[in-house]
């Protein structure tokens, strides 16, 4: 199996899908400059630089998607999605429904998110839950290079608008990616580690913090099950509920603000569907209700650490 960074995996996915389907095209601020190999292979009609204008980039993509193309757009950093909010939420997410199903919007929006670069809250804002809350959109956030590729390929083939969040902290960490046609279905979580004592649920780089916590816990005789959501919408409720029914204990962790975050939805789901199995209260670990600081120690402190996750699991075992 070749080893790729997520950045390379993303380009590989786009290239394969562009070869396969001539309606796939990509544009964004610096897309043609930065993705040189794609420009070389597919030419300036299908790999385009745009003006610096997220609203019109997204609007153009929605229009194109509604009328026969499959655009992939790069809006760079997740906070810049705010300029494109109207086009993504009000147009891409609603016009299929409002038109009685006459249109579909096969469109993928890439955005980087999360701490790691010390760029501050106007570049680092884990706002993925906003899009989970908006009807008509799908939301993906991978944690491994293989999933970056497999989920992106599936997202490009999906007939719905997909928000594809890329955790900055992972982008340059290489990992194995299966050769050839590697597709990962949307809406299917991955169980990264099996265990019967406590369920740890996360996505993006927090999955790795959970895996590390599980390793520590194993040394203490606690068997943690680690679930990587991969897709936040549609959410794989079956995998979540089945795991908690088995372990009776749940820690859900993400870097995004805890308040109204994805963890809140999961906690509610488990309370509704697996309440009887719970042996201890659900724990949610997440970022504070504060913008992400640029200053390194403050930025790092926003994300749930492996130690915090392990400590939460231990507390649940004693409860």
């Amino acid at each position: 199996m070749p080893t790729l960074t997520p950045i390379e995996a993303v380009d590989a996915a786009i290239a394969e899908e562009m070869r396969r389907d001539s309606t796939v095209l990509m544009f964004g601020e610096g897309t043609a400059t930065k993705r040189h190999a794609l420009l070389e292979e597919f030419g300036a009609r299908r790999i385009r630089n745009t003006p610096l204008a997220e609203g019109i980039i997204a609007g153009t993509a929605v229009g194109a998607a509604g009328c026969g193309l499959r655009p992939v757009i790069d809006l760079l950093f997740a906070p810049f999605l705010c300029y494109a909010m109207d086009e993504l939420v009000n147009s891409a997410g609603k016009l299929r429904y409002l038109s009685g199903g006459q249109f579909s919007f096969p469109l993928v929006t890439l955005a980087m998110t999360g701490g790691g670069w010390g760029v501050g809250a106007q570049h680092n804002h884990n706002n993925e839950a906003w899009f989970v809350h908006s009807p008509g959109l799908k939301v993906v956030m991978p944690s491994t290079p293989a999933d970056f590729k497999g989920l992106l390929k599936t997202a490009i083939r999906d007939d719905n608008p997909v928000l594809f969040f890329m955790d900055i902290g992972l982008l340059y960490q290489p990992g194995e990616v299966p050769d050839g046609e590697h597709l990962v279905p949307l809406g299917q979580a991955a169980v990264r580690r099996r265990g019967g004592d406590v369920t740890l649920i996360a996505y993006g780089k927090t999955v790795h913090a959970c895996a590390q916590a599980a390793e520590t816990l194993a040394g203490e005789g606690i068997a943690a099950e680690v679930i990587d959501l991969r897709t936040l919408k549609p959410l794989d409720t079956v995998t979540i509920v089945d795991s908690v029914r088995k372990t009776g204990r749940l820690v859900v962790a993400h870097e995004a603000n805890r308040l109204c975050g994805v963890g809140a939805e999961i906690a509610a789901l488990v309370a509704e569907q697996a309440f009887a199995a719970l042996r201890a209260p659900i724990v949610r670990l997440g970022g504070p209700d504060a913008p992400a600081a640029s200053s390194y120690p403050l930025e790092q402190a926003c994300a749930p650490s492996a130690e915090a996750i392990a400590a939460a699991a231990r507390r649940l075992m004693r409860a």
């Binding site: 400059t33 630089n49 501050g120 209700d289």
Partner: protein, 320 residues
């Protein structure tokens, strides 16, 4: 009302430009060594910043963006506190929470700095509205790039400022680049000044690499804003000599373009004029270079000695 740069002004402008360049070059060096985070430097654009800022009065308010060091230093910001901010230290102007990209210094009238491209243009209308309604003196100066002019916010801002008669001096620093895209690829015309016309806003383009020309044009423009109470757009035509963000190999930049602009370096040009007219001697020039270098060395030492903010700062200043 409008004065050209006087005899004794030019050496001061020159020294400010030297200080800015020394500051930026220190960051380039220290970030390459991994000691300081990379920044969007203003190298090559010093004259545009120094010329405009020196044309303003103390009551005027400035909005800037991610590429702010030249504006801030020209306005009198302390390089030590700026560096501390870039390094995320508690002695920084924003307690280290900003880093390099959104440095506001309210005490200097540099307000609401944002790195969302176009945000400064949205906010400037409100700043000018508040100034007027609160009866405060001072016009509002909004620095933005040619890239920002492509955001809808630019057009919405100019339209509203014109309709509401807001005293805003829009200063477009047309440095030819919009991150990794040349403005040729994103705009049909060479000049953002042309885009002010349909909004009934007077506009002018000036050689942004000639500090005296910028100062004179900015004085005239500011005087017009003060007299009319209406917006004006001044475009400083200049060049981003380094990459978008440090480090950046600029592999995407045409070497001929870089060379042509390097030959028009604003600091070298100013030095040549000062030396040729006898307003500066070679030894005075060398002394100035030493002076700014030692100021920057002190600044870096100050920043390095400043602690990181305490973790308890993570959730302070979120709400008023």
């Amino acid at each position: 009302m409008t004065r050209p740069a006087s005899e004794n002004e030019l050496p001061q402008l020159y020294e400010q430009m030297l200080l800015i360049r020394a500051y930026e070059e220190k960051i380039v060096e220290a970030s390459a060594a991994g000691k300081v985070p990379g920044t969007c430097t203003s190298v090559g654009q010093e004259a545009a910043a120094v010329g405009v800022v020196n044309a303003l009065g103390g009551a005027d308010l400035i909005l800037t963006n991610h590429r702010s060091a030249a504006h801030l230093i020209a306005r009198g910001a302390d390089p030590g506190r700026l560096l501390a901010e870039v390094m995320g230290r508690s002695a920084g102007y924003c307690q280290g929470k900003s880093g390099s990209l959104h440095i506001s210094v309210k005490e200097l009238g540099v307000v609401l700095t944002s790195t969302i491209v176009g945000a400064e243009l949205s906010l400037a209308t409100g700043v000018a509205l508040a100034q007027g309604m609160l009866g405060k003196p001072g016009i509002v100066v909004c620095f933005f790039g040619d890239g920002a002019a492509c955001e809808g916010a630019f057009h919405e801002s100019l339209n509203l400022a014109s309709v509401w008669n807001l005293p805003i001096l829009y200063v477009c620093e047309n440095n030819q680049w919009q991150a990794f895209v040349h403005r040729r690829e994103t705009m049909r015309r060479d000049h953002v000044a042309d885009w002010a016309v349909p909004y009934d806003i007077p506009a002018r383009t000036v050689d942004g690499n000639n500090v005296e020309a910028v100062l004179a044009a900015a004085r005239a423009a500011a005087a017009e804003v003060r007299a009319s109470g209406r917006p004006f757009l001044l475009e400083t035509y200049t060049y981003r000599s380094r990459g978008h963000f440090e480090p950046d190999d600029q592999a995407y930049v045409d070497p001929a373009e870089r060379a042509a602009w390097a030959a028009r370096d604003p600091i070298a040009a100013c030095r040549d004029r000062l030396l040729a007219t006898g307003r500066l001697t070679a030894s005075q020039d060398a002394a100035l270079a030493d002076k700014v270098q030692s100021r920057i060395a002190v600044a870096l030492a100050f920043a390095e000695a400043s602690p990181y903010p305490a973790l308890s700062e993570m959730t302070t200043d979120v709400y008023a």
